[in-house]
């Protein structure tokens, strides 16, 4: 019996020839990540061990991105814990304001995470790096603390579900629409404890930015990881970024899957996930008339170059509805700079959007765009839980950048096809 890509990466990091679903292993970690919410707890736990050094200062990343630029005194204290820890233990990959970005856009961009890696992060969207053909999963602060100490962590080898996407993508349909459709299909615990492997002719042609947004939301189906088979598109992306040895793994032809879903993309239209779960996805034509108070374009799901280009294409020479606020957040400083060079920032500002420095900010109801009671927002982010963006009596709708831009212009949930 062959192995899936996920099983192969886990086996290699546990120094085993073979692993099987359900098996408990202790595996070596290539990269461990924490942010300004999760790292302070991890640091507190780590320091309780009384160790003089971390397992490898080059393999730990600390990214203060959630409440930064510091939104209040308490947040400033949290970030200071990260900064002081990074200095004390000579952590190379600490990213200060001015260089930082939203962690899951930043680490691939900097070439820190590589194909074939085993990555853990104290952030649930750490599954994003599966887009590179790495095994990458979210954990808690105590898990992060233990990895900072010994460079290893225990895992239960997950079963894998294979998703095969076939057909031709319709206009305005992106990776975000494919993943929202998929979560709608299997539910928010449809892949609980399992690996989601994204394959098929549609995926083989899908750009890296779209792959990142799909892998990012694997956790929204309860998955342990989401993963893509690395190929020439991956190679092109990591070229000039990755500086250390990496490995491309592939699933064997006779690998075992707990389930195989074949998805015909011909009939998938741009999706909108209704409150209050990502599984409440429907085609935009079935959304009905829903007026909005705010639109957010950004986040670790959709704050990358391609997302901004799509949004700018739609917003060019148009104005944001006077009943609504549009907030655009490039996910990293590099993306911000590139968007400026391409004239996208000018398009956003001319349209009447607020453009923010990179931050997770509004996605988790932190700052930079909080909703009042009764308000509705559409966001290119990944969660629409109760109170996610502010008041527990507000609502969040999830969609890709095309729907977000069109909705910002018309003031209600709309498709670019609705624009005259």
């Amino acid at each position: 019996m062959g192995m899936t890509i996920t099983e192969k990466i886990l086996a290699a990091h546990a120094k085993k020839k073979k692993v099987e679903p359900g098996e408990l292993i202790i595996a070596n970690i290539d990269i461990a990540l924490g942010n300004d919410i999760t790292a302070p707890l991890a640091i507190q736990e780590f320091e309780s061990l009384g160790l003089k050094k971390v397992f490898n200062p080059g393999r730990i990343c600390l990214v203060p991105d959630h409440f930064t630029p510091n939104k209040d005194i308490k947040s400033a204290e949290q970030v200071k814990i990260l900064r002081d820890f990074a200095k004390k233990y000579k952590i190379k990959n600490y990213f200060e304001i001015g260089q930082m970005g939203v962690e899951h856009a930043l680490l691939p961009e900097k070439g820190i995470v590589c194909p074939g890696d085993l990555i853990i992060g104290a952030d649930s969207h750490t599954c994003t790096y599966g887009a590179l053909g790495a095994f990458s999963t979210g954990v808690g602060s105590t898990d992060l603390a233990s990895v900072m100490a010994i460079g290893k962590l225990w895992f239960k080898v997950p079963e894998s579900i294979k998703f095969v996407y076939k057909g031709k993508l319709r206009k305005w349909v992106s990776g975000k629409d494919l993943i929202l459709y998929t979560i709608g299909l299997i539910g928010v615990d449809g892949a609980l404890y399992q690996s989601m492997e994204f394959t098929g002719p549609v995926i083989e042609k899908l750009s890296m930015d779209n792959r990142f947004s799909m892998a990012n939301m694997a956790i929204e189906a309860g998955a342990k990881n989401g993963i893509f088979i690395p190929d020439d598109i991956t190679l092109e992306y990591i070229k000039n970024r990755v500086q250390r040895p990496y490995k491309f793994y592939n699933s064997d032809k006779d690998a075992k899957y707990s389930k195989i879903h074949e998805i015909d993309v011909n009939n998938i239209e741009p999706q909108v996930a209704f409150p209050h779960l990502p599984e409440n996805a429907k085609g935009v034509s079935k959304a009905g008339k829903i007026s909005l108070d705010q639109v957010v374009i950004g986040s670790c799901t959709n704050g990358r170059m391609e997302d901004l280009r799509i949004a700018a294409k739609i917003l060019k020479n148009r104005k944001v509805s006077s009943n609504l606020r549009l907030i655009v957040i490039p996910a990293t400083q590099n993306i911000y700079m590139q968007a400026m060079k391409e004239g996208l920032i000018e398009i956003f500002i001319n349209a009447g959007a607020a453009v923010s420095t990179p931050t997770c900010g509004p996605c988790l109801g932190g700052h930079m765009g909080i909703l009042a009671k009764g308000e509705k927002a559409l966001a290119t982010t990944n969660r629409n839980f109760v109170g996610r963006m502010g008041s527990p009596e507000s609502e969040v709708y999830l969609a890709g950048p095309a729907i977000a831009a069109a909705s910002a212009i018309l003031g209600r949930i709309s498709s670019p096809e609705d624009l005259t």
């Binding site: 408990l24 919410i37 707890l41 939104k71 105590t142 233990s146 309860g222 109801g365 109760v386 109170g387």
Partner: protein, 161 residues
């Protein structure tokens, strides 16, 4: 170890934003976090519970973010145990790592209502509901996880490595 407590029952897919909203995550002070436990699913939760009470919930409890503040604030609020039909993966790990007792038992959850008095034996995984006079058995933890629990959580286990 046996505990007895009164139950508070919730629906499927209770997420970590409901357990502890992100707007309070600018601190790691557990007493401060406990004041807002379950606030976005039940705003009076902290006022009505007593020490030793038990949370009972449907499938996929603790879905969403990886914030360990979720099991930590449940524990700090005085809740003695969470029983659910199933737990989201990261919450499950975090609960074990931080020593919040959790039990998985779809049958028990179906047979429990808010206000029931339960007696739980953590060694056998038996859950007794006084109102219905029924006993349910939760899934036992795999031996490796029992080792983490008996080491006093993950950091205790790490110290042994």
């Amino acid at each position: 170890m046996r505990i007895t407590g009164k139950t508070w029952k919730y629906r499927d897919d209770v997420n970590t934003d409901e357990i502890i909203p992100a707007r309070y995550l600018n601190t790691i002070d557990l007493n401060e976090l406990a004041k807002h436990c379950m606030e976005d699913i039940d705003k009076d939760f902290i006022k009505k519970i007593s020490k030793g009470d038990i949370i009972v919930a449907g499938k996929n409890f603790g879905c969403g973010s990886s914030r360990e503040h979720a099991p930590l604030c449940i524990k700090a609020s005085g809740i003695s145990c969470v029983i659910a039909k199933s737990f989201a993966r990261i919450f499950y790990r975090n609960a074990i790592n931080t020593g919040l007792p959790i039990l998985e038992s779809p049958d028990a959850v179906s047979g429990i209502e808010t206000g029931d008095n339960l007696t739980i034996d953590f060694l056998t995984g038996e859950i007794y509901n006084k109102r219905t006079d029924k006993t349910y058995k939760a899934k036992p933890f795999p031996p490796f996880m029992q080792e983490i629990i008996s080491s006093g959580g993950l950091m205790g286990w790490v110290k042994k490595q």
